[in-house]
């Protein structure tokens, strides 16, 4: 009974983590950028969906679409206003661009967070779920929304897999993550690939943000923890490895759920962090990472 409960709850939260972390790791794999405004973009998507439903009185589907659209715009804004100028800057030495991108996206994330707090307050917001009600799975009462979340996450990740492995654009993205210079030599425009990747990232972060808003609710305080959790999942899986971060998302999701149910919700994040530290010492490139 409890085991089944943990299995179901853990699956939903893990799937959500996986969706959030996939886009994050994709960007790193292709362009070497760690986007620290990730949490802010997710929260912006959720808050936009919430505002569309409760301020503009749109239905839940349109609200969710608004949320994803906002995340997409934010992702492009992050790329064109912050990341690209730093990457193209001639005044910043190449070996320091990494820290500048990190600092820049971090500041950008704080700006988004503060604007959300200013216009929509710090209160937690729960987006109205698209499907409501509760079903009984072999004695475990499960909200339909939780099942919906898990299904959507799996579907989107499946679609992403198809996109990357079966389409021409996706293959170009994959190639860029393996060897950027080789891709340029084949006559593909690297800048266009980056734009595509940021577009994919924005869509994924938007869907993850809106689903999170329906499932757990968000506030401007969730920005930091969301970025941190995406960060630790991606590191655990190996930076830039999509399959690695999928596995890591499930490891972290189930570890957290197990701890919350069996020990205490207060210690929820500790085992995952401990695991992360151990992995960093023994296998710094992560579970499936390349060095």
């Amino acid at each position: 009974m409890l085991a089944l409960q943990i299995l179901i709850d853990g699956f939903a939260i893990s799937a959500l983590y996986a969706l959030g972390a996939t886009g994050f790791t994709l960007i790193f794999g292709v362009s070497g950028v760690l986007n620290l405004s990730h949490g802010a973009i997710m929260v912006a998507a959720a808050v936009a969906a919430w505002a569309a439903a409760s301020v503009l009185h749109l239905d839940t589907y349109s609200g969710a679409l608004v949320g994803v659209a906002v995340a997409l715009i934010m992702a492009f804004a992050t790329y064109f206003a912050v990341v690209k100028p730093i990457q193209n800057s001639r005044r910043i030495p190449n070996e320091e661009k990494e820290i500048f991108v990190l600092t820049g996206t971090l500041l950008w994330g704080i700006m988004i967070q503060e604007l959300i707090a200013y216009f929509f307050t710090n209160n937690a917001k729960t987006v109205l779920p698209i499907v409501e009600g509760v079903v009984n799975i072999v004695g475990v009462r499960t909200p339909r929304n939780e099942i919906f979340t898990a299904i959507v996450c799996c579907l989107v990740i499946g679609l992403l897999w198809l996109l990357v492995n079966r389409t021409r654009t996706g293959k170009a993205v994959l190639a860029a993550s393996m060897n950027p210079r080789g891709v340029t030599l084949l006559g593909l425009e690297l800048n266009r690939i980056y734009v595509v990747v940021w577009g994919i990232y924005g869509t994924l972060a938007g869907i993850a943000g809106v689903l999170l808003g329906m499932f757990l609710g968000v506030s401007s305080y969730s920005v930091g923890p969301l970025t941190a959790s995406a960060f630790s999942i991606v590191v655990l899986g190996g930076l830039g490895s999509v399959s690695g971060s999928l596995i890591a998302a499930f490891v972290v999701g189930y570890l957290e759920t197990l701890t919350a149910y069996l020990v205490s919700p207060a210690y929820r994040t500790i085992p995952a962090l401990l695991l992360l530290v151990i992995v960093m010492y023994i296998r710094p490139q992560g579970l499936l990472g390349r060095r």
């Binding site: 820290i99 700006m111 941190a228 401990l274």
Partner: protein
């Protein structure tokens, strides 16, 4: 090094310190309190700059070192009632040990992986403080029975003196042959190693020095506040501020980091009337500096002087 004592930078710094030292004679306690915090913060930023600007190690968790120093000093004082000065020294030593532990993975991994390890270290520390709430005061914070002094002017002078001495030592170190080796090993470890320098030893030393000053400053800060809390010395947001201060003031300048820290704290206070938008404005200004003046305040000024 000898040229420094006749350089314009030296006279400007000297003038700044002298003017700052006379402030308690004519400004209010409120401004003194603000600057006291800013000075301790300046030491955090300078210690961080030694690691990043010279050793080339991106430490995302300056607050791990600061927090260990601050909490060790605070807990020893609260639990055993040991004297303030002993606690401060022990806090700094604990921080050195923490710096040593943090340096171990840094010598194994490079680039973003090391940065991530340091970030995880902060999250771990934060969790431990919350879990061992009996000892640490948890999320509410630890109340410390003793303070150094309650006189605003004396506190201000202690902070100013501490920052000046730290700045002199850290700047001197960065300009010394050791600093040069550090800079070389940060930029090209293989070549620096091939030239016969022991990179591991130099980086470890940089970590220990950085940790010592971070911890010392953290311990002094909690004895100024009379409390230690996650929000003031451990939170990732505090660490972010330290990094922003160093980049804003000009990385690889050490002194610029202190300038950036003072700017951040004072600007945050000036913008208080704008309410919740204050953080937004400070972040926006910092982002603009990062994008358009990547050298920071002091970097821009120094390069102009070098050109003329």
């Amino acid at each position: 090094m000898a040229g420094f004592f006749t350089s314009r930078l030296f006279f400007i710094s000297l003038a700044c310190v002298v003017i700052a030292a006379t402030l308690p004679l004519y400004v209010s306690g409120y401004i003194l309190g603000l600057l006291t915090v800013a000075f301790y913060f300046g030491v955090f930023a300078m210690a961080w700059d030694l690691l990043f600007g010279f050793a080339g190690e991106v430490n995302f968790g300056p607050t791990f070192l600061i927090g260990v120093g601050a909490y060790t000093a605070g807990i020893l004082n609260a639990q055993f009632g040991w004297s303030v000065y002993l606690c401060i020294v022990l806090g700094a030593l604990a921080s050195v040990v923490a710096g040593f532990v943090l340096a171990l993975p840094a010598l194994r991994v490079r680039g973003p992986y090391f940065g991530l390890t340091t970030l995880v270290a902060v999250l771990m520390l934060q969790n431990f403080i919350v879990v061992f709430a009996d000892l640490t005061g948890g999320e509410i914070g630890l109340t410390i029975p003793d303070v150094i002094t309650i006189n605003a002017g004396a506190n201000y002078w202690i902070a100013l003196g501490f920052m000046t001495i730290s700045a002199a030592i850290l700047y001197g170190l960065s300009q010394s042959p050791v600093g040069l080796v550090l800079q070389a090993s940060g930029q090209d470890p293989v070549q620096a190693g091939a030239l016969g320098f022991n990179i591991v030893k130099h980086k470890l030393a940089a970590f220990i020095v950085s940790a010592f000053f971070s911890g010392l400053s953290g311990a002094l800060l909690v004895f100024y506040f009379g409390t230690a809390s996650v929000g003031t010395v451990v939170d990732v947001a505090v660490g972010v501020n330290v990094i922003v201060a160093a980049v804003l003031g000009g990385r690889r300048t050490v002194l610029g980091a202190a300038l950036g820290a003072i700017f951040l704290i004072v600007a945050g206070e000036f913008l208080r009337p704008t309410g919740e938008l204050a953080t937004f404005i400070v972040s926006a200004v910092a982002l603009l500096v990062v994008l358009f003046f990547p050298g920071g305040f002091l970097g821009a000024a120094l390069s102009r002087e070098a050109r003329s």
